[in-house]
């Protein structure tokens, strides 16, 4: 029986810039920041109230994971906003929206009333987009 998810990856264009976005703008905590040699780094963050789900900020680089042209194509797709990686939850949508907007987070859609409740859409510094909803 699967009991929980403990790691998930988000592919980013630049790890340093992603660190700044997720930690200084979204307010996530650094879980593990480990230098892996040859300029590589294992960097995971987590939301303040969910420390057991590590979000790995995975740079798109040519190597074992992305061969040849694949890295270039993947970078382009991320940049164009092809991928939506999930839904983040907050206690108060409008306050969170105002705070993130003040910190420079780009919203593709402000808090809007949908048939399922209020939700907003924002993109990270790479182009990955997320939905932001309020705890029901």
């Amino acid at each position: 029986m699967i009991t929980k998810m403990n790691h998930v990856s988000i592919f980013v264009l630049n790890q340093d810039s992603a660190y700044d976005f997720y930690v200084n703008k979204l307010g996530f905590k650094v879980h593990t920041d480990a230098p892996m040699g040859s300029g590589m780094r294992w960097l995971t963050v987590c939301s303040p109230e969910q420390p057991t789900l590590e979000i790995s900020l995975m740079p798109i680089e040519e190597g074992m994971m992305f061969k040849g042209e694949a890295a270039k194509q993947m970078r382009e797709m991320v940049r164009q906003g092809t991928f939506g990686f999930g839904v983040f939850e907050c206690d108060n949508l409008l306050a969170t929206y105002e705070e993130l907007k003040s910190k420079g987070v780009v919203f593709k859609k402000p808090p809007t009333k949908e048939f399922y409740g209020y939700a907003a859409l924002f993109a990270d510094d790479s182009g990955n987009w997320f939905s932001l909803s309020e705890k029901q």
Partner: protein, 147 residues
Amino acid sequence: MEDYPKVYLYRRIVQAKLYIDKNYAENIDVSHISDEASFSKFHFIRQFRKIYGKTPHQHLTSIRMEQAKLLLQSPMPIAEVCFSVGFESVSSFTGLFKRYMHLTPFAYQQRQIRRQHEINSAPLKFVPGCFAEQKGWTKKSNFQELL
């Protein structure tokens, strides 16, 4: 968005919270913040609590604790951490930190330094095997350049 109630109110409270987030190390006066936000002190505290689930003072303490946790990842003296995050007394800082983290600042700092040392000396221990394999970080790699 337009049909969302009281947008202007949220904006003022959020700006007050951001002020606390930025100036946590200073001697922050809630009356001054509520004046800036054009609220009475009582109304400001009530609205802040409604949105964030804690009073401005509780939020300030929590920000100071989080900043202290970050500083305690380095070997900085405890008193210096205490004053850097805006506390004026080491004993009240230690007491609050213990209540918040169930550890003294010193014990927390020692734990964090040990963990950082472990990350540097055996980084693979902190990476799930499947990711390490995909990245080509195997146990045969000794990460010598890090040492």
